[in-house]
């Protein structure tokens, strides 16, 4: 953080020359737009101007608690207006935030010490007997945003410099404790500008956000609303489908698992007599104002993207990026190609190594190391020149569209030297609706063995057997799956076999089914 030395002058509207984040903290939004927090039992709503004013009052209270430059607030709560107010108040004070996802973290002294938190704001009960000082319940936040009796004093001005870290974000990695990474103001500004350049969000837009605000990218859509005057609705993953049709958004910020559920629902409804076209059924689910659907964070099946874009008339745009790089590529209305994750956005450069591994160079890097990780983790990902080695393999086509084939460590090398990229093989199995997930292993390095997560219990073993035959018929001889082990229960976050972003945890699945993977008699044989 850098604090200006000269006394500030009153600025009625933030000059366009300021960076997006500095515009957010300098002046109230001048365009219209509202923010809504939707739950099953109702919606709270306020103008973006009021949001700015309330964040300012909260900032005064937090300042009195010692929050300012050099301090950090942890926010451990489900999506809510309070979450947004705390985040904006921290930005206004030049303080860092740490977005802590409920379910992954629990409030404790140890948590506060581990991440250097001056204040922990949470919607979870804290043990009064433990006398956890430095905590603030989100239930008490709203009262701190109400107007006081006297005139409202201006806050000390802040300026976010490009390399200042505004927030700590945590990777939802497939193993172990989440890694923490500081995100620079420059990387956030760069991503906000790049997204706006290709999607042109405007006051007619209404963005629908249901993924946790602890993921920095989900907060971008609030920043975008403040900068460009559009509406934004926050809800939760569980309530998303119930609130979607009530909200009638123009843009939905989702992930593949959400759209896959929607696709299955649309197709099931279409089987009913007189259900109408795919477009009509999709409109009933998503509302009638959709301009586009956003997906990222995990690979989307090409058939699903095609279904939404072509059959349902709701363009679904896939992109690519990691926590360590922010948004790297994105399909968008002006440039999209089936099967790709889009062209490289402004400020990013994609490099494909001789081994096919994708590396990313940024004009404004997110960071150059992990702040919280095991020794050696940073060096594996961040190169000395700031380039990020993603661990994904892919290629760029002649028009600059990126195609991601899979994880470099998801390549199985058989003892005959053949390299098998597992994702296309797994996708063939997942094409069957009875199979929710498929993960390939090669316990003896001679053949492929799949562990599949059934879509429902009891598992439809006939369908799995048929899917195995179909996948083997469609693949090359080296891609032949010799056995399939049907998981005892569907992979889930609760049983530790899916990440919070609904990606299979390969090492955990391998460990859970190790015995059957190595037992040649186990499973359904090809």
């Amino acid at each position: 953080m850098t604090a200006p030395t000269a006394a500030p002058t009153a600025v009625p509207a933030a000059p366009e020359s300021l960076s997006p984040l500095n515009r957010l903290v300098t002046a109230a939004p001048t365009a219209g737009g509202r923010i809504h927090a939707a739950r099953l039992d109702g919606t709270r709503s306020l103008s973006l101007g009021e949001l700015y004013e309330r964040a300012g009052r909260l900032a005064h209270h937090l300042r009195a608690l010692g929050i300012g430059p050099g301090t950090r607030i942890g926010i451990l709560a489900a999506n809510s207006l309070e979450w947004v107010l705390l985040d904006l108040a921290a930005l206004r004070l030049g303080a860092q935030t740490a977005g802590l996802e409920p379910g992954k973290f629990t409030p404790s002294r140890e948590l506060m010490d581990r991440y250097g938190l001056t204040l922990l704001c949470t919607d979870q009960p804290t043990d009064p007997a433990a006398r956890l000082p430095g905590t603030l319940s989100t239930d008490d936040v709203w009262a701190l945003t109400e107007p006081g009796d006297g005139p409202e004093e201006p806050l000390p001005p802040v300026t976010w410099a490009e390399r200042d870290v505004t927030t700590i974000k945590f990777t939802s990695g497939s193993t172990g404790v989440p890694k923490g990474l500081g995100a620079t103001a420059g990387s956030i500004d760069s991503s906000l500008e790049a997204v706006q350049e290709i999607f042109g969000h405007n006051p007619d837009d209404h963005l629908f956000v249901f993924l946790p605000l602890s993921l920095l990218q989900q907060r971008y859509w609030v920043y975008s609303a403040l900068l460009h005057g559009h509406d934004v609705t926050l809800t939760t993953y569980e309530a998303a489908f119930a609130t979607l049709r009530r909200v009638r958004p123009t843009v939905v910020m989702g992930v593949p698992a959400f759209y896959e559920t929607a696709r299955r629902q649309i197709e099931a409804r279409r089987r009913r007599p007189g259900a109408g076209s795919a477009r009509q059924v999709a409109q009933a689910l998503f509302g009638d104002r959709i301009r586009y659907l956003w997906t990222g964070s995990a690979p989307a099946a090409p058939a699903m993207v095609r279904f939404f874009t072509e059959e349902a008339g709701l363009p679904l745009f896939e992109g690519y990026g990691l926590n360590e790089t922010c948004i790297v590529t994105k399909n968008h209305p002006g440039a999209h190609r089936e099967g790709s994750v889009g062209r490289v956005v402004r400020g990013k450069q994609v490099l494909i190594g001789e081994d096919g591994v994708i590396s990313v160079r940024s004009a404004h890097p997110v960071g150059d190391h992990y702040e919280y990780a095991a020794p050696g983790d940073s060096e594996k990902v961040f190169m000395p020149d700031g380039t990020v080695r993603t661990g994904d393999i892919g290629h760029l086509d002649e028009d600059g569209f990126l195609f991601v084939h899979g994880r470099a460590d998801d390549v199985i090398v058989l003892d005959n030297g053949k390299k098998i990229v597992v994702r296309p093989v797994e996708e063939r199995m997942k094409a069957d609706p009875a199979i929710a997930e498929c993960v390939l292993f090669s316990p003896t390095q001679t053949d492929l063995v799949a562990v599949v997560s059934p879509a429902a219990l009891p598992a439809d073993t006939d369908a799995v057997t048929a899917a195995l035959a179909a996948a083997n018929a469609a693949g090359t001889p080296d891609e032949r799956i010799s056995r399939v082990i049907v998981a005892d229960e569907p992979f889930s976050i609760a049983n530790g076999l899916l990440t919070s972003q609904y990606k299979p945890k390969r090492p955990a699945i391998q460990s859970a089914y190790a015995h059957r993977l190595h037992n040649q008699e186990a499973g359904i044989h090809a």
């Binding site: 039992d41 119930a242 429902a456």
Partner: protein, 92 residues
């Protein structure tokens, strides 16, 4: 009330059948089976099912909180909860 119960149960069976993958026939559903354990109903699909069911039966979904939804573990729980609120909803 018995007619309401029958109508809601019938609608609940049909709507649940639609969200299950693979589909289970409405008449084969066990009203006392755990929806997640027996039928693999995910939290996303549960909300989809209840949203459609409320729309079908004219019960306002706003009667329920996320906590209420979590407490509905079987088809019988769902039918009972909707029947309770059916009479509170004007026009339902």
């Amino acid at each position: 009330m018995p007619d309401t119960l029958t109508a809601i149960e019938s609608a609940a069976r049909e709507q649940l059948s639609l969200v299950l993958i693979p589909e289970v026939a409405a008449e084969s559903l066990d009203p006392d089976a755990d929806l997640a354990a027996a039928y693999g109903l995910t939290s996303l699909n549960k909300v989809l099912f209840l949203t459609e069911l409320c729309e079908d039966t004219g019960v306002d979904l706003a009667h329920f909180t996320e906590h209420d939804l979590a407490a509905m573990r079987t088809l019988r729980d769902v039918t009972a909860a909707l029947t309770r609120h059916h009479d509170d909803t004007p026009g339902a």
